[in-house]
Symmetry: C2
Subunit: 425 residues, 2 copies
């Protein structure tokens, strides 16, 4: 890899998600060469990805060029590359555009979709972890509506208009709600000659309630909101496979669907080159100490979703959401600065700001500290928090305008099939 | 093709460009079944496509779902399909999603890029006639900058940063100006470690002036504006070929470039099934009479860029721009309504509103009636006219906000490589 020669220490960050970006921003002022490597040239605001899938927002509203976020950082280099392997002995990183050495390495690679080893699901399901995947879901949805409008076979039409989402976590719940709003407010205007009741939305969850990481109160409220919108919720229901045409449940029931979205779980996006013992098995996260140092390595850190920090309060590690990643990134920046000055590092303490999930127009649920609430106020808080968290003034304005426009007009404007999606056969 | 059965006459429109949309909108109130077929599910505002290529705007700002534009039209059916062939004897249209019959057929297919038979150019050049093509140019540009930032070979870097545009018409001129603005205002901030002077922009034009359809005054002004921005203009220069790495001029000079954009000409996007005699050869347009009826057919019409209407004032047909298409579409709607009532149709008379082209910030040229002017005022008029011409309130606001933001911040925000472009080898 080509980088300007320097006497400074080199800090390499792999991943431009919430953790990597928060860290890099706060490294401003440190006398080091900073290299951030990501397979995308932009940071994705993942909590709003489902709105890209469902025609509510365009990608540029929720993604931000990494070079632009970090334009005030001196000695900063972005490299658009995929990391192949790490050699922790030689302190080397191998990528598809060459290799580079590091003095400090920060793993902030986050997670990827977990298909639990089911290759059929991996092949045919639509995951939603990246902007291109979100756009694929949008294209497929619109294509299937176009096909349905031109289809005189009732069963085929129902399959085209069946939306089955696996996973009742925030992603699945927010997606189901957004599809239901499209059904209620948008598609009847676009497809006047279709019977919109033929569109069915199913949400499958393996446990006994949706939004399992949130409170019972939030689960109940969200369930009611989704049911009011016509979403069919299947609890304690495991989907065993999908062949591109038909999903099969554990009890062998089958359902025909052309829109099968997999939001059932994630697994660490690990990088090759470490010995297995470093990893915690189940979620593929790197075991780290309270300074986010990867077990056994002094100059390798892991932050965010890919880090497994066992504490008394969080014996299974921190929740895999934005806040721990941001907070760990910010603390690590301070710790690196301390370490450069010969000072001792400070341990990580998670400050839980609470959880929010939105179901649709005026409908959201919130668990903040000991407060549990749902409805219009929670929805308002959800909007405000997400708007403020977006990177950049332009994105805030564009998202706000789109939300206001969509709210007033009962519309979702981004209904272009720019890159048609070809389902695999 | 599946369409509701009806006793009404069926009007089929092929193409949702300026002509097809203007026609369909004005058909409101006519007691007929109207079917519009297009290979995209959206209408593209082509005059601003170059801003999608150059990171100024996102596709959803300049494209509009066809179903949404025409939502107030009764008995209207959109079909997302590619037309394969027409059978004018059986009055049938064959598409990739089935066939349908028509009582009236309107060809509004516009033009496609003309490679003048050069298969190498067709294979390696970047055309810019559609939203996906515009996005490809954007991705390639950003990818080449990423590669250049990681490249220590000067010659290779210069090839990555060479932008060669063939065709000095409005598209080529506007693109060259936009690249020059990126060079001046945007890329130096993103790529601080690159020497931005290594980015070179070339504009090749076969005739002796750029903007040949406009006045001499406009050509001169535009030339000066482009030169001030550092664009190298090559007049009387024919590009004979490009092999993906190197372009060759007629005089055998070669230039290494990884960004080769072909805006040298268009040819009618004709539909198979007509006898050749109907067509005018050179530009592949259908010969029509003053009612836009295709020569030899009473119930087949052609409007816009695909129509060749010879008049005393326009012996070579009307200019292939938006205005004739819009005006012919609107007149044809009236004529069809007259015809349904047994009244006689009225002949087409073109009302020339003038021509505008923009080069960049505060820089545009205008020929309006007998007025020829350039500079800030022309640029202001250009912005106003284009903003007003955009379909939909939302698009107007979003484009206006983006322009204002970009103007104030000397920025172009849409710098995401969402779908990386893979150059052919």
């Amino acid at each position: 890899m080509h980088l300007p020669k320097t006497d400074k220490k080199r800090i390499v960050i792999i991943g431009g998600g919430f953790g990597g970006i928060s860290l890099a921003k706060k490294l401003r002022g440190l006398d080091a060469q900073i290299v951030l490597v990501d397979k995308h040239n932009y940071h994705t605001f993942q909590p709003l990805l489902y709105q890209v899938s469902t025609s509510g927002l365009e990608p540029d509203s929720i993604a931000y060029p990494i070079r632009k976020v970090l334009k005030n950082l001196d000695n900063f280099h972005f490299r658009w590359a995929t990391v192949k392997e790490i050699d922790p002995v030689k302190q080397e990183i191998h990528t598809d555009i060459g290799q580079l050495t590091y003095d400090y390495l920060v793993l902030a690679t986050g997670t990827k979709t977990n298909f639990f080893g089911n290759t059929d699901i991996e092949k045919y399901a639509m995951p939603m972890k990246s902007v291109p995947q979100a756009l694929n879901i949008r294209s497929l949805m619109l294509q299937n509506f176009e096909d349905a409008d031109n289809c005189d076979d009732l069963e085929e039409r129902k399959a085209l208009l069946n939306f089955s989402i696996v996973g009742g976590g925030p992603t699945g719940v927010e997606l189901a709600g957004a599809f239901a709003e499209l059904k209620r407010n948008v598609f009847p205007k676009d497809y006047k000659h279709l019977n919109i009741d033929e569109m069915q939305i199913h949400l499958f969850e393996g446990s006994d309630r949706i939004l399992p990481p949130m409170s019972e109160h939030a689960s109940k409220k969200a369930t009611r909101f989704l049911q009011e919108l016509g979403v069919k919720i299947h609890l304690n229901t495991m989907v065993s496979t999908y062949d591109g045409e038909r999903l099969t449940l554990k009890d062998n029931t089958t359902i025909r669907t052309k829109n099968f979205i997999w939001a059932a779980g994630v697994t660490g996006a690990i990088v090759e080159g470490f010995e297995n013992s470093v990893l915690k098995d189940r979620l593929n996260r790197y075991k780290v100490n309270k300074y986010n140092q990867v077990e056994g390595y002094e100059s390798i850190f892991a932050i965010g979703d890919i880090a497994y920090m066992q504490t008394d309060e969080f014996p299974d590690g921190h929740p895999q959401v934005a806040q721990p990643a941001i907070q760990q990134g910010e603390l690590l920046a301070q710790n690196l600065k301390r370490s450069f000055k010969g000072e001792t590092m400070r341990p990580f303490v998670y400050y839980d700001k609470g959880s929010l999930a939105t179901i649709g127009r005026n409908k959201a649920v919130a668990d903040i500290k000991k407060l549990r609430f749902g409805g219009f106020f929670a929805w308002f808080v959800w909007m405000f928090v997400h708007l403020m968290a977006l990177v950049g003034f332009r994105n805030k304005v564009v998202v706000f305008f789109n939300w206001a426009y969509n709210y007033i007009n009962y519309d979702k404007a981004a209904r272009l099939i720019v890159r048609p999606f070809t389902p695999k056969t």
